[in-house]
Symmetry: C2
Subunit: 414 residues, 2 copies
């Protein structure tokens, strides 16, 4: 049943689009969640919000008790220092995942919203206790520099806008967490990294899976070589994409098709599991003739990678097939896998040692809270995030090589 949730959440991973026409189409897709309970009326006070947040935390600890990992009810400490966050773009991802996740954060609080839709922003501000004065739009975005409450800006816009709004945020003296893919091109990524350096601010890419325990455990198992050297990784990510008018299918907004959006999870997995950079890439692409969804971007692009240690990867990425979300790591002594692997929740891990297969149960966390708190702590302690801009740039370079391999029908060396 949690599989159902994962797919549901994949489908609703929508970020705000600034252009009215596209936005309206997206709102149709958003459906019940946008109109539903989470977007409450303005009668929700800041006090009410904090109370809800507290209940949420207690619920988590109650679950912990049930699993036998604690002996007594844990009442959380009063909050310590929390950094202030501005959320840029109020699409589904922000509404359904990011804003609710602040209730789970120890070091992060939402203090500002940036949106092209004043009504929506006002409703969300009321629900999440954001001051009406801290609601911005894309015309007065630069004035976030004058709001000292904002420490970190989270860019939740279509891919093609990440660079512009990240650079502007850095120029306003803010730290930035950008959604993935970091940008449409390596050049944009480099400009973002340069802007962060110039402003002496942190830049992190929202590679959520690095901040949740199932994928972290997979990395730990890989590094331990418990299953011997890694020989092959098989990773599959994709879903059947809906509305043909959505921004993901526009080349200038999305940068590409399934690879940029969902295939990047396959690529990321191979890189964080091996801890290495690929040296060679093969690829094969397919667009269904006449399918209006794939006029500008690719439907399916499958790729092969070679890593310096000798590990090879076979990855698929598709907007055409039904939901796939898995990767298996095959060593000389067995395999370990996640399926679902990289959704917002519902991860399941299976491990095979020779001829016995086991499921490994891990206590999940809120991925977004974990990710945002990591960023806040990096800022507070002045250390580099685990997934800095340079990490996003590496993926972009490999993705460009994947496209080139498919086009040229040759192995591309990196």
């Amino acid at each position: 049943m949690h599989c159902r949730e994962v797919e549901f959440y994949w489908r609703e991973f929508e970020v705000e689009v600034l252009f009215e026409g596209i936005h309206m189409d997206e709102m149709k897709e958003t459906g019940e969640k946008t109109d539903g309970a989470e977007v409450a009326g303005s009668d929700v006070t800041r006090r009410g919000f904090l109370k809800k947040a507290g209940q949420g935390i207690i619920a988590v600890n109650a679950a912990t008790l049930l699993t036998g990992s604690a002996g007594a009810q844990h009442v959380p400490d009063p909050p310590g220092k929390k950094l202030g966050w501005a959320i840029v773009g109020l699409g589904n991802l922000s509404i359904n995942e990011i804003l609710p996740a602040f209730a789970r954060c120890e070091h992060s609080k939402v203090v500002a919203l940036v949106s092209g839709h004043p009504d929506k922003a006002a409703r969300l501000a009321a629900r999440y206790g954001v001051s009406p004065k801290a609601i911005y739009n894309y015309q007065n975005y630069d004035s976030i520099r004058d709001n000292p409450q904002i420490d970190v800006v989270y860019i939740v816009l279509p891919n093609g806008m990440h660079a512009e709004y990240t650079i502007k945020a850095h120029q306003a003296g803010k730290h930035v967490l950008s959604e993935k893919p970091m940008a449409n091109t390596p050049a944009d990524c480099e400009a973002m990294i340069e802007a962060a350096q110039k402003a002496n601010r942190k830049l992190m890419v929202a590679y959520r899976c690095r901040y949740e325990p199932f994928n972290q455990e997979m990395i730990k198992i890989a590094r331990s070589q418990e299953f011997g050297p890694i020989k092959v990784i098989v990773a599959d990510h994709g879903f059947s994409i809906g509305d043909p008018s959505q921004w993901r299918l526009k080349k200038d907004l999305a940068g590409g098709g399934s690879l940029m959006d969902i295939g990047i999870y396959s690529l990321q997995a191979t890189r964080y599991i091996t801890g290495e950079e690929p040296t060679e890439v093969n690829a094969m692409m397919y667009n269904t003739p006449g399918d209006v969804r794939f006029k500008e971007v690719e439907e399916t692009i499958n790729f092969q990678l070679r890593f310096p240690s000798g590990a090879l990867a076979n990855c698929s990425s598709s907007y055409g097939y039904s939901g796939e979300n898995r990767y298996r790591v095959i060593g000389t002594k067995g395999w370990f896998e996640l399926e679902p692997a990289t959704g917002y929740r519902g991860q399941r891990m299976r491990i095979r040692r020779w001829d016995v297969t086991e499921e490994k149960d891990i206590q999940p966390v809120d991925h977004f809270a974990s990710e945002m708190d990591h960023m806040s702590q990096c800022v507070m302690k002045d250390i580099s995030p685990l997934t800095p801009g340079e990490e996003g740039l590496k993926d972009l370079k490999v993705m460009m090589a994947i496209y080139e391999a498919a086009r040229s029908q040759k192995t591309i060396e990196l």
Copy 2:
């Protein structure tokens, strides 16, 4: 637990080798099964054998009763016409799978054995009721022409010997079932096909999975388009190969490495699932430096295929990783998969329709009995086998293209 069996049987898939030195090494691998109960002493009479066989059949029907698919005990009819088979090569596969399978055959009986090891042949002949006069060796092999009891010859030799012994059998006027891969080269396959045509005899390749109900059901689902058009097939086959001196690791005997032996199952699956021939191939190969097992043949070779309908396949093939034996077919509306997929037994099928995953239970059969009876019936009815020599040739051509793609680092068009 049946997974354990599958892997075990993969490891023991050994065919007889004619060279004494290599053979002895193989016998070490064979271990308990060769020395065990199935190779009984000469006190096992034909009558004893038939009794055992009868018990086996009753046991199967008892299982059928338990699953509720029959209302009364089914006592099989007395045998109708059965064709006589000669088994060429008495390695593990013959000893542990093929010879016992005759007890499940309706149209096939073993009447002759061909082996370079007279003692072993005599023991097996006694167990399976084969006349001592119908034991041949590789020196007097051609004299099978003088034995009218032999209708079909089953070639269970190392790959590099399939062509020679198939052609000789056809020249002796016999029908031939050859193990896979059909031969080391397309040229050898063509010579075999020509020999069959010249002799006006049937030639079939032992693509066992085409004769068992799990893979047959996968094909049926694929053709029905119940899950929409096939977008991607992911197939993984391999195991960690043992003894470095075995014939599978000798280029002249095996023709190649993991691809020829086990990766061919990935390739076959993509071809019988789509019902199409691939038009393009990419590949990436890896041999662990200094690993004595891979001096002559490849360890891992992963490949990508494109089919005319637009389906793409990502396949892995390895002698280096732990046991993999699976394929998943991903359509627009869900996926269907087998894991284990192609072992001698233990298949499991899972189907995912949108967000619900189900296991589909199918009554298994003895793959070898089904395969041999298909061949016998084709001979009796004078019709072409489902997997004739031409089918083996097609795989060989694609495998040569896979090697060429890996070598040239380019997409090879077929």
